[in-house]
């Protein structure tokens, strides 16, 4: 059996009782470690679960999945994923391959940022499609997120923006020279995301949003040090110190936002005066 086990969002105790039983008994335990991270190290998980864990990087999952699935027709393999196992496309591939090999599959769901973001107080019903924001470089500024945000905003919906993480990345130079040397991990901040969004709006000028549009920056959702900051996109450009360490996510508000949502998030406002001004100009309109 292939078990896809969600680990939740924060630390070793976010696994479900059902998931923990699977991990303790499985013949092999893998940890997918490139689409998201927990706030604790692998060694903490190993000690808590009482099991050795093999870190599965992108290359392994995408190109060498048969090693993960080896003998899973007859023994149990636990493939652990931060959040819920079905947040990222890659794991659909793994399941399709398991099906081809006649391996039975079971999922142990857990909290995902897709639903955990409800802790902001924004109603999950009012979210449109989710977008991803990648780190811009001088020559590569992919802006496909912009059209999708505009589609959501045109019908008044919130947008969850998931922020890039870079783990086990090589520099161009090391890659060219074939050196297996990796850069330190990088996690995009809400400030970087807000700045990139404003850069693209400046370029496209279709008013999908403005510097005065309201958004919520979220840090370490579901963790003990969970932190939310509400403000205009311009204000959120400078919110990283308040938010603290990774992981960060962001929600751009849609104009259909309800007064109950306002009452909830106003508590997180950087500046209640600018918050109210932006709210009155753009939101609470059904």
């Amino acid at each position: 059996m292939l078990y896809l086990v969600g680990l939740g969002l924060s630390d070793e105790t976010d696994i479900t009782v059902k998931g923990l039983e699977v991990v303790k008994k499985a013949a092999r335990v893998y940890l997918e470690a490139y689409t998201s991270i927990l706030l604790v190290d692998k060694t903490v998980l190993e000690s808590y679960y009482g099991r050795e864990i093999v870190v599965a990087d992108r290359e392994m999952v995408e190109s060498n999945s048969d090693e993960i699935l080896r003998d899973a027709q007859t023994e149990d393999v636990a493939f652990c994923v931060v959040g819920d196992p079905f947040g990222a496309t890659t794991h659909t591939d793994l399941v399709l391959r398991a099906r081809e090999l006649g391996i039975p599959i079971r999922t142990v769901p857990n909290a995902s940022i897709m639903s955990g973001i409800g802790a902001t107080g924004l109603q999950l019903y009012n979210f449109g499609q989710t977008v991803s924001m990648v780190f811009f470089t001088d020559t590569w500024k992919p802006a496909s997120f912009y059209d999708r945000i505009k589609e959501n905003r045109d019908i008044g919906l919130h947008t969850l923006v998931l922020l890039d993480i870079k783990v086990k990345e090589q520099s161009l130079e090391d890659m060219a020279r074939g050196r297996r040397v990796y850069q330190p991990p990088r996690y995009m901040t809400v400030g970087q995301c807000a700045a990139q969004m404003l850069e693209i709006e400046e370029d496209k000028k279709e008013r999908a949003y403005t510097a005065d549009s309201l958004a919520i920056g979220a840090a370490r959702v579901g963790g003990k040090t969970e932190k939310f900051v509400a403000g205009t996109l311009k204000e959120l450009c400078d919110s990283d110190e308040t938010l603290g360490g990774p992981l960060h996510s962001m929600v751009l508000l849609g104009r259909r936002a309800h007064e109950l949502e306002r009452d909830y998030i106003r508590e997180f406002a950087v500046n209640k005066e600018t918050f109210d001004k932006s709210w009155n100009a753009e939101y609470g309109k059904q």
Copy 2:
């Protein structure tokens, strides 16, 4: 401290280790039992958690929340919610009230149907806003879901449809006579949902979808007997026997559905021939 503890989707072992620790230690434990249900009875939870549980019905949570919050400034109260605590509006109210009373709050996230529905193989990124479907009566057929589905479909997105549950409902006669007698619980099926959707399309004729549009019926997501059925809306009208008991949910596909999603869900097709025909007519268009 007020702890909002997510219980996940299926049975007593879907609670997280962190959540279980909170429930075991809290001064009082409540179970919100009207927006969703687990697939096991309260007594199973009580025996597994080793705690007595007070069922909090809608009236208690919405009108008598101060009883739930009593003394939570100084002792721990666990308010347990099926799925994730922030799936339903009601709990935002409870938190706002707790804030007013100066009670510290912590959330223990868990799987929600909003993310668990990813187990269909459909990409969570491609979902638009979520809608609710209530039981129609002869005189009351609320159709606000229709416009929202149309908004999603116009931009090619999937729609998660959450299906009505009726627990502790009085008949009109009993209500009129002031008798506190309750009807047996009712859970909407995918077949009922599909039929109601087609009834409203027949009425509105805006082609938000047709009888040939593809959808996935989902039953007992995250449970051992989890079951998915893919087919046209017409086919899904007759899928209840295949799907089995509650809880059911449905996803109406958006035309941006990707080939990888097709490969995954085709396995669940009632009829692969009609599935392929509908797919080729309407889907996989970016």
